[in-house]
């Protein structure tokens, strides 16, 4: 709780409070390196979005765990640097090349914003720590549709192309059904919406045939039977969607999802990267982390270090390819 109140408070109060709750100096964490982290340095934690969003909640959940288990010896100062779909916050971190005390959490925009705007940075420029979870999507139809399962859906879509709604075009919502349709061999029209709520009402009003969305936001409607889940894009189905097949289990694995991970400034020292990898290995084992994953309906997918960089590069290239093929980006 301390770090949450911390985050809310002013910069001024932040400092005072953070100092007051600063953890005892010493090697509290899995102390691999001798010099890092120094308890005298404040960890400058950039949250590239405003308070209350997915990125913010994730960052503050990790900070809370670090705090609770005394994993980080110094002060942690979370700061919301919102603007430009993440461009401002990650640009701030990018400018601190080589600094071991600049850190940030990633979300989907980490991959999509550089594709849409001339950001000075690319996702693979940063020092990767770990991919911790992925946001995956569920394909749903209206509860009163006569399509009962994914096989029927694919069969019907092959006969007459359907329309599928999603949020935005330069987004996993567009990429996932596109790749899935390619593999399963059907065609569809993508209808892009501004927000989950608009696309959900469109589906409920029978304007759409189907839509993709984050399960967390529509679980209530799935539970009440207003929406029927057909297939899930992640590797493991969350408990709330038990019985729904994954795209992989159908043999149409698409391997694209939105990365929720942790990054350091570009060219951060090796020892800082190693220290954070070891620390995050502890963090993902805590019950608090498990609760964060389940309450946000994320898929726990953990990979560390350079593998995470490869993952980011692959995700970015995959996006670029699909988006170029439809002319969304040049």
């Amino acid at each position: 709780m301390i770090s949450l109140t911390n985050g809310y408070g002013s910069r001024l109060r932040n400092g005072i409070l953070a100092a007051a709750v600063a953890l005892p100096v010493g090697f509290a964490g899995p102390a691999l390196a001798q010099d890092y982290p120094s308890a005298d340095e404040t960890l400058d934690w950039t949250i590239a979005f405003g308070p209350g969003g997915g990125n913010d909640i994730m960052a503050r959940s990790i900070i809370e765990i670090l705090d609770k288990y005394d994993l980080y010896p110094g002060d942690v100062k979370p700061e919301n640097r919102a603007g430009g779909s993440g461009a401002v916050g990650w640009g701030y971190l990018y400018a601190q090349s080589g600094n071991p005390y600049g850190i940030s959490t990633t979300s989907g925009s980490f991959v999509t914003t550089p594709l849409q705007a001339d950001t000075p940075w690319q996702p693979e420029d940063f020092t990767p720590v770990a991919l911790l979870a992925t946001d995956d999507l569920v394909l749903v139809v209206n509860g009163n549709s006569d399509i009962q399962n994914i096989e029927e859906f694919i069969a019907k879509a092959k006969e007459t192309p359907m329309n599928i709604g999603g949020t935005g075009t330069v987004n996993v919502d567009f990429i996932v059904p596109t790749l899935f349709a390619q593999k399963a061999g059907f065609e569809f029209d993508y209808v892009s919406f501004n927000s989950m709520s608009e696309q959900t009402t469109a589906l409920l009003s029978n304007a759409l045939d189907a839509m993709v969305g984050n399960p967390g936001e529509i679980l209530g409607l799935i539970e009440s039977g207003d929406l029927r889940p057909l297939v899930f894009s992640g590797q493991n189905v969350p408990a709330a969607l038990e019985g729904v097949p994954t795209m992989g289990s159908l043999g149409y694995d698409i391997g694209v999802s939105m990365p929720r991970g942790l990054i350091l400034a570009p060219n951060a020292p090796q020892e800082a990267q190693d220290w954070w990898i070891e620390t995050m290995k502890t963090v993902v084992e805590t019950p608090e982390w498990g609760e964060y994953i389940s309450s946000n309906t994320l898929t726990p997918t953990v990979i560390y270090g350079e593998d995470f960089r490869t993952f980011l590069t692959n995700t970015k290239n995959g996006f670029q390819e699909v988006l170029k093929s439809v002319g969304a980006i040049k």
């Binding site: 408070g9 001024l12 919102a82 002319g327």
Partner: protein, 149 residues
């Protein structure tokens, strides 16, 4: 001077339409309305109607009378100060820029009340800082160039 404003709008409309025609597709490759469909419609209508309004203005044969020179000088000064303020915020952040803007503007508008002016120039940014940064945890514009104060 309405005509000058209309000409400026016409220039903007021409630029807007040029971009719409040069960069944005009229239809998508699947035959639906493209990203350039509405910009082209909007741009062309804007050019036509602005031209029409300019013609009207010319035909009416009178250059609309504006207020006296003093009124123009005042408003131009305030606009210049406001633009200067915007640039100062970008460079030196919200606190410093607000103090400088208020100090300069008030010493021009409210001559001879130095103490009062300085108090306003100090208290307003302090109050805003307390309200935004402390109570609301909202962002104050950060400085591009940190001043050594």
């Amino acid at each position: 001077m309405r005509i000058a404003f209309l000409v400026a709008l016409l220039a903007a409309a021409v630029f807007y339409s040029y971009t719409a025609f040069a960069d944005l597709g009229f239809m998508t490759r699947t035959g639906r309305l493209g990203p350039g469909f509405f910009p082209r419609v909007i741009g062309v209508s804007a050019i036509l109607i602005t031209l029409w309004a300019i013609l009207d203005e010319l035909r009416s044969g009178r250059i609309s009378r504006d207020g006296d020179a003093r009124a123009w000088a005042d408003v131009a000064m305030l606009m210049a100060l406001a633009v200067g303020y915007a640039l100062l915020i970008r460079l030196f952040g919200g606190m410093v820029a607000t103090f400088v803007f208020l100090a300069v503007t008030l010493s021009i508008l409210n001559r001879g009340q130095l103490v009062k002016n300085m108090m306003v120039a100090t208290l307003v940014p302090a109050f805003v800082y307390l309200l935004f940064d402390w109570l609301l945890n909202a962002n104050m514009p950060p400085a591009l160039i940190e001043l050594p104060i």
